[in-house]
């Protein structure tokens, strides 16, 4: 392809780039997805796929993608400190972070807000305003 001439030698050597014409394909990529069209074809995400599956129309004891999902845990959750990872029986009411002892508490209180939110986001406990 003409493109290859212009590319650097080592790139061609390594065959880094996928060739646009492949002999074993009946329909090539450039035919299937013409350049003019918006490349970001709207593919359905998993949530939409599951919705469209209409699992409720089928007998519930038949295993499908949704009903083999795990239930929530019954065991009490082990609470660990957000910053250090030690066992944390306490939590800070202002920031909602869990901490293990007084030193960690000092650190928490001196953290800028961005960091508090990131630690909470680790636990999926950050407040997200949409």
């Amino acid at each position: 392809m003409s493109m290859k001439d212009k590319m650097e030698a080592e790139v061609v050597e390594a065959e880094l780039v996928l060739p646009s014409y492949l002999s074993f394909k009946r329909v090539q990529m450039y035919e299937k997805y013409p350049k003019g069209q918006a490349r970001g074809r709207h593919w359905k995400h998993l949530k939409q796929i599951i919705q469209a599956e209409n699992y409720q129309n089928y007998p519930p004891d038949e295993p499908n993608y949704v009903n083999i999902e795990s239930p929530p845990s019954i065991h009490p959750c082990k609470r660990i400190c957000d910053i250090t990872g030690f066992e944390a029986p306490y939590y800070d009411p202002r920031t909602n972070l869990r901490y293990a002892n007084a030193d960690v508490f000092k650190v928490i209180r001196s953290l800028p807000n961005e960091y508090v939110q990131r630690y909470l986001a680790l636990r999926n406990a950050a407040i997200v305003l949409k």
Binding site: E62, P112, L122
Partner: protein, 723 residues
């Protein structure tokens, strides 16, 4: 790194007859493709696609898999991150999937008109039929594949190990994968999906967790924590602790074992070039130069001073001469004589002379006799203010004006005196305070330093807060990220006042005409409303700031390790601008608790916010779902538990699982957990051995089958694993 890509183009594609199936293990992490009946896949690569622009030609190209980053520098990769065809463990993006298949077949050496081999491809358990049908269409239509079979990778792995004798006909397969974790029971060699269980936690989440923890702990080295590097770290250093809490306690106590278990990663660091202490001659030379310079300056000053002295003396002489002449001249001719010289009265000349004498004295550097000066000043004052004491009615009009002037002069002079006095007193006061502080410091340096630091901290907080208030509320409270503008503007008292004025001025009272503007004072409102006026508040924080700087300079003198906190803005974390040189230790990343905290997440998905059961509980759920109520079956299941999948490579996971499962099973039931021979490759191997079986073709479906029977049939299509 245990995962290696193999992308060498194969050249024996044509040697295989068209009955030989191609086996593909399409995993969320890696794509493996090879021939049936072989023990290793021919081509292995990371299941991602990038579409960067070539910098020179401007063309958008496609790059599949992970590649040497050195080659990628020819491409502009900023707008194209690596993309995967998967959403969780289901393929949803078939354009990306097509690129991947292209690449895979290409590297296998395919060169015909189409792929004329049956294809066995893996999918996730209970794959939604839409994904399945799109995949089938893709393979049939675009590649011309004659027949397809879909299978579950976990099942293949189990079957393979069963054939190798690692596990029994009845058992459980535990597969922590890249994005999900499955537990599937096997009865009579067939997977029973009704009893299977899936948690949406996998190796991806563990790596992500580790990456975020490290970034938060070492914000300074954010750039060093790339995804690939963190994955490497995870694979090398992470392990599963047999009991999380006791291990954490070890680290908390700081025991010696904890020290040994902490691994340190030294980032590349170049020490700054040390400045050698200047040698003796250097010092001497520099000192000599300085001396010469100061000498020169001194000479210049001397010269100036002497010239000024000369000038002043000349003036003095002239004036005295003038006075002398004045004395000699006759009374009547005084005005004309004075008119020539340019002075109005004798008094003026005398005052001029006094001034010159004073400056002369100053320049000569004679000790100022303050007392004498003040006296002189008083005398002069008495002369000047002579008119004040005389009562009003005894003076003429001119003299009254004169008196007014003198009164104002006097009050001004007095004011100045008072000010001087006050300043002098303040100086004394400050000196006394400094003395006191010095004493305090000398007697108890530690305490003094602490107090000073505390005060500094307080002040800096207050200053910061005021600054925050002034600049539109910003980060007032963790929760409002978007509502800052409106509320923040009104937090300040002056700004509140401004708001009030604005609203009252704009408020249309309705009845009657608007009488605003009739009086001139109304327009003053705008002055009040203007923003500049609102900066009245600046005075108060200035005091604080002044004190802040004073304290910080003091602290810098006293304490060598004190680092003043410059307010760099809130985007910066607890990082302080370092005034002491960065040491080697600052560039060391230590992995202590993180080593076992991250994989522990597989057992407690709650730590990441995923509200599902962890790995050990999943077995209980799975057995419960089977509902066979057959004790012996359950025992058989638990005595043959196979752990497979990429995320099962952590050392210590088997022991932990055993402990966890023992907790939920009735006491005394047999538990035997085995690891797959090769957790990563076994799925492909199982599929390859399955496809090489002679009965394999009965399990496939062809293009015709697909179009005739349609989607519904495809929904019920399940592979039978025991042939």
């Amino acid at each position: 790194m245990p995962f290696i890509s193999k992308i060498q183009r194969q050249n024996d594609f044509n040697l295989f007859d068209s009955q030989t199936p191609i086996v593909i293990d399409n995993g969320a992490s890696y794509f493996r493709i090879g021939w049936a009946g072989e023990s290793e896949p021919r081509v292995v690569f990371r299941n991602i696609v990038q579409r960067p622009r070539h910098k020179v030609t401007g063309e958008t190209v496609t790059i599949v898999g992970d590649h040497d980053p050195a080659l990628l520098k020819y491409f502009d990769c900023t707008r194209s991150g690596p993309r995967s065809a998967f959403d969780s463990n289901v393929v949803y993006q078939f354009e990306t999937m097509e690129y991947i298949l292209d690449f895979g077949f290409d590297r296998m050496g395919a060169n015909g008109m189409e792929i004329d081999h049956p294809v066995l491809i893996t999918e996730c358990a209970c794959n939604p039929v839409q994904s399945r049908s799109k995949m089938a269409e893709l393979l049939f239509e675009t590649y011309g594949v004659p027949s397809i079979a879909f299978g579950v990778d976990v099942a293949f792995s189990y079957k393979y190990n069963q054939q190798q004798g690692v596990c029994a006909k009845d058992g459980l397969a535990l597969c922590p994968g890249f994005t999900t974790t499955h537990v599937i029971p096997f009865v009579d060699g067939e997977p029973v999906y009704r009893g299977s269980c899936r948690t949406n936690i996998g190796g991806f989440h563990v790596t992500d967790y580790l990456k975020q923890l490290l970034s938060l702990k070492y914000p300074y080295h954010l750039a060093a924590f790339t995804w690939e590097k963190v994955e490497d770290l995870k694979m090398e250093h992470c392990y599963v602790a047999p009991d999380y809490l006791s291990e954490a306690r070890l680290f908390q106590k700081g025991a010696k074992e904890a020290e040994e278990k902490t691994r340190c990663w030294q980032l590349p660091w170049v020490p700054p070039p040390t400045e050698e202490p200047p040698s003796e001659e250097e010092i001497a030379r520099k000192a000599a130069i300085k001396e010469k310079q100061s000498q020169r300056l001194r000479e210049m000053a001397e010269a100036k001073k002497s010239s000024k002295i000369n000038e002043l003396e000349n003036e003095l002489h002239a004036l005295e001469f003038l006075l002398h002449q004045l004395d000699q001249v006759k009374e009547s001719e005084v005005p004309s004589f004075l008119a020539e010289t340019g002075y109005v009265s004798r008094l003026e000349i005398e005052s001029e002379r006094n001034k010159v004498m004073q400056s002369l004295r100053k320049v000569k550097g004679e000790p100022k006799n303050e007392q004498a000066e003040i006296e002189k000043a008083d005398l002069a004052a008495n002369e000047k203010y002579s008119l004040i004491n005389i009562a009003d009615d005894m003076l003429t009009q001119e003299q009254l004006n004169e008196k007014k002037k003198q009164l104002s002069l006097k009050s001004m002079a007095e004011g100045r005196q008072r000010l001087k006095q006050k300043r002098y007193e303040e100086e004394l006061e400050r000196e006394r305070q400094q003395q006191l502080e010095e004493e305090k410091r000398l007697e108890n340096p530690g305490l003094y330093l602490e107090q000073l630091l505390a005060r500094y901290k307080d002040l800096s907080e207050r200053v910061d807060q005021q600054k925050r208030l002034k600049t539109n509320g910003g980060h007032s409270n963790g929760n409002n990220l978007s509502g800052g503008v409106g509320r923040g503007e009104r937090l300040n008292a002056a700004q509140r006042e401004r708001m009030r004025l604005l609203t009252t001025a704009a408020f249309d009272r309705g009845k009657g005409e608007d009488t605003f503007g009739i009086r001139d004072e109304d327009w003053q409102l705008y002055k009040l409303m203007s923003k500049d006026y609102a900066n009245d508040d600046d005075e108060e924080p200035d005091e604080d700031e002044a004190e802040l700087t004073r304290i910080s300079s003091r602290l810098q003198e006293l304490d060598a390790t004190f680092i003043p906190k410059s307010d760099v803005g809130f985007s910066q974390p607890a990082e302080v601008p370092r005034f002491k040189p960065l040491t080697k230790e600052d560039f060391q990343i230590s992995l202590g608790v993180e080593r076992f905290r991250c994989p522990e997440m597989l057992f407690s998905p709650n730590w990441i916010g995923v509200d599902q059961v962890g790995l050990d509980e999943m077995t209980g759920v799975s057995i419960r779902r089977l509902q066979f109520k057959d004790e012996s079956l359950e025992e058989r299941l638990t005595s043959s538990i196979l752990v497979t999948g990429g995320s099962s490579l952590y050392p210590g996971i088997v022991e932990r699982l055993e402990a966890g499962i023992r907790m939920i099973r009735p006491c005394g039931s047999p538990i035997k957990i085995v690891r797959a021979l090769d957790p990563v490759m076994d799925a492909w191997r199982g599929a390859a051995s399955f496809a090489s079986d002679s009965q394999f073709h009965l399990q496939t479906f062809s293009r015709q089958d697909y179009y005739e029977k349609g989607e519904d049939w495809l929904r019920n299509y399940q592979l039978q694993y025991t042939l």
